[in-house]
Point group: D2
Chain length 309, copies 4
């Protein structure tokens, strides 16, 4: 089913897909199909399922497999599917990677094991064992706010020598760290550096980055694709114009309600306004209060009206 050539580095907008959930707490297959079509018709260059935005940590293995299988089926080879296999248990990462390969995924993505405090050497060995044991290429996933450990630049460079390790997604929001990555991987153009926070998409692409894993692209895929294109083309006026829209989403939707989980609540609830998914979550998250939903709807409408896709 896979039509992509893994020798060409992936670039562009790879939304970290939210996981559609129904009112019974199950994966909403219809929602997956709608969301996949929404994203592909929006021109995204790939999808990344089972990331932080995909609530990977809260789903059980059956839900994860259902999501992988259904996403790969609906995508049907039109764009690459990246599958998050992050797990505190190495064996869990490996098993999910094998399932992803059988389902037709393009690559897997793994953040460090996130319970124990570990050293860089332990981190290196964990990734090496993982890369040795899986049938698909692997992206490293730097997410220190959630995993407590950062993938040091030196560790990333050492790991990049492994032929299975093809890129790194950085969600640290640390601009100096990302520039250090770009500097150190300058002579490895096949190693893909993607940025997590969408607020930093344009600037990192301007500086040579490969694209972004932008949560907001679940909502407005065309907006982020356009911003990426403007950055590739070094079209500063267009970047400035689009960046304001991206920042409006960041400011008005992702901080709504003042929860630690406002980003995810705002994103999924806004997608429900578009009729694509239901505003349902997996524990420990739960929906906004009704009045919060109403307030968000007003905010969302204003932003949506500014974004004529």
């Amino acid at each position: 089913m896979q039509i992509l050539n893994q020798d060409t580095p992936i670039k562009g907008i790879i939304p970290p897909m939210v996981t559609p959930i129904d009112t019974k707490g199950k994966v909403d297959i219809q929602g997956v199909e709608k969301l996949v079509e929404h994203l592909i018709s929006g021109g995204v260059h790939g999808v990344f399922i089972l990331g932080t935005t995909g609530e990977f940590s809260s789903l059980d293995i059956a839900q994860k497999k259902e999501l992988i299988a259904s996403t790969c089926k609906f995508v049907n080879g039109r764009i690459p599917v990246l599958v998050g296999v992050t797990d505190v248990c190495l064996q869990g990462c490996i098993e999910l990677s094998k399932f992803a390969e059988r389902s037709g995924a393009y690559a897997v993505v793994a953040a460090p094991p996130y319970y124990m405090g570990i050293d860089q050497e332990e981190l290196y060995h964990f990734y090496e064992q993982l890369a040795n044991s899986i049938p698909l290429p692997l992206f490293l996933y730097n997410m220190p706010s959630h995993t407590k450990v950062s993938i040091d630049v030196e560790t990333a460079v050492a790991l990049s020598k492994h032929k299975k390790i093809i890129g790194l997604k950085d969600s640290s929001a640390n601009g100096s760290y990302f520039q250090s990555l770009q500097f150190n991987f300058n002579d490895q153009p096949d190693f893909v550096l993607m940025v997590g926070p969408e607020e930093m998409l344009a600037e990192t692409v301007l500086m040579g980055g490969y694209g972004g894993v932008c949560g907001g692209a679940n909502l407005f895929p065309k907006l982020y694709v356009k911003l990426y294109q403007a950055a590739v083309e070094n079209n500063i006026d267009e970047i400035i114009r689009l960046q304001k829209l991206v920042m409006s989403i960041s400011q008005k939707i992702y901080q709504h309600g003042g929860y630690k989980s406002s980003y995810l609540k705002g994103l999924k609830t806004s997608l429900s306004f578009l009729g694509i998914i239901q505003a349902q979550f997996v524990p420990p998250l739960f929906p906004f209060e009704p009045n919060e939903v109403e307030e968000l709807k007003v905010r969302f409408s204003k932003i949506a009206s500014m974004i004529i896709e």
Copy 2:
């Protein structure tokens, strides 16, 4: 199989059992049996499997079930078995709890979901849903260094109203926090407050605590049982004498090698010196270097010779 009356609060030394692993990475059943006998003959008041010391996060579900079943079988109702069911996925916690119940466990223990940053309200609801869905009593497990979220005293008090929630194990090492717990639960003598760090066992029992989940009790169960008894009896001279031995272990064994994982490496490697388990680990941990093992052996021998059990 369960012979304990759950209406009597558990007290004393409940070692967080290390998980014996063989050279192939599997649960070493013979090691489990030896360790269980070592602990019970040492007079411990219960065992806690699949805690942080038990490398719970690194084991897959099959390994966890094997450990639960074999531990319960070997213990055979002589002491209560507490089972760690901590999982980022609520459904995972519930399933493991049901398995623990079928295996004859006394209670389950759960730390907060540890990937996403969550608020106290989300934490409360997570625990409430868990308590509503499981057949065994539940201990809360405060471990902020690993889970990033602390169980606020107010949250613990609110949760204690749930009849299934019977206690809290605090591994924060924060003495003020533990005293706040004791103060707030003063009028709920059935709610069990256990301390994690063994360095704080004696003082917290002196002040009214119920006991400790002492990692070092894997090695020298009698030492910690004696220290607990001395604290119950307010025998300060004996406490001071035994505390020095406990601190020697803490200082010489748990910090050996200067790794973030030195505690666990030192503990399991020392247990291998006693011939009880092998010095094997699950990724992301790996054994000491041979020279580190030799140095530890010297340190261990000195301490062991001081502890005439």
Copy 3:
């Protein structure tokens, strides 16, 4: 003026004195006198001025000198005066230490320089230079929540070899750390280990500690002196009784209003209810809102009525 023998280790309750401020933002000398008499008549074993509770960081050098001079004058050698000289600038620490010596202080207390991130080796050298340059004995002051750096046990041990360095006050609230200190200083009975958080006073004295730097002793000195005595005498029943009062203060007064600075606001405002000082602060702190003061007054009255001194 100094009547104490510095060869006898200081022990007991050493309140971290709040700094009385008048409505013009100046040191309230009359308040200093009243507070000093309140403390001495309450039986405290010393006073510690210009600590965190004394708002040292917010006072200018003239205010600090005025407080040192007036406190030493009012105390008049009846109890030892410890003077906080913590400063990010070594020269500032030295100058204040010299002034403290001329004013008749017993010793100085210094937390690590708290702006730059520094290593233990830099920390060691800083303290060594300080100890070499001052005319009074020096207490180390561990306060990692405020200084970002912790004084490692090894560093404390190395520094204790300096004849000017006579003790350590630990405000980390980390019970394992404090026990590690006690274990490592076991054979240096002249090295004074005092605990900061008053919630931990009783237990650390039971385990061999020298006493506490209890903020609440500003309010109710006799209560803390009694608790200290009960701990010295290993009178558990009395400890349990008094600990509840101490915890009531901690819970009802120090967390009032939910500010990061609630401890200090609650403490000074309560002292104003006793007519000892005014509820005035130095920036960046400012007084409670009037309704918050009223609510606190109710809480305070309840607690005060339980504490018949």
Copy 4:
């Protein structure tokens, strides 16, 4: 002496000047003069003294005043002088600001008070009181790694309404935060947003930022000025070329030796290779070991040879 019009927002490269120190620990006035000429001849758009790079926290008030007076004298109105007045004591900030004004400085720069943990409301009032009390315009200085508190975007926006507060320097390295600032200050073009980490200079200027407070500009002012110009002109090829040089400095010089203070040690020691200052520091920092100096010299020579200014 001031020749600049404060109504025109400052832009470009404003090096955070290191403080030249002699072997006796005093401000090295000759070094100040040499450094000022080096910077001005390098085309910088201003200098910022007494920042973190200037070791402000470690200097006493006399040293600070000497540095302010001498810098202003040597600069002699050719470029704006920004003076760091960060102090935990509000009165200290105010006094230094008045001295800066009398010396001919252009503006002052203040990070939050950095000892106590404070809330945003307290932070707001602190800055408001400061701005009300000083004769010069004020830049906010966000430096959460050192001050523990971040200046929330909302707080910065609220403070920007004060006519004395004219800009913000962000040293958080958080790219999302900086973009949030730019978005929120989009309609206030007179409010100057400068970035601290030099690794992020080019990208933030491309996105509309005003320039950078680049430590490396002490060494190679022309390099950073050129990079700034390239960013202003949207000359991506030139940016990519110069960014590599900037990153070489960041990687090879600022991390030398693996100290927490490696940045400052590497920077000042490299400046000594240029014969501009001596490699002297104020406690708690101290010089590299001789072998570390030799290794750095080799690294530095390689980089310097690549940078033909």
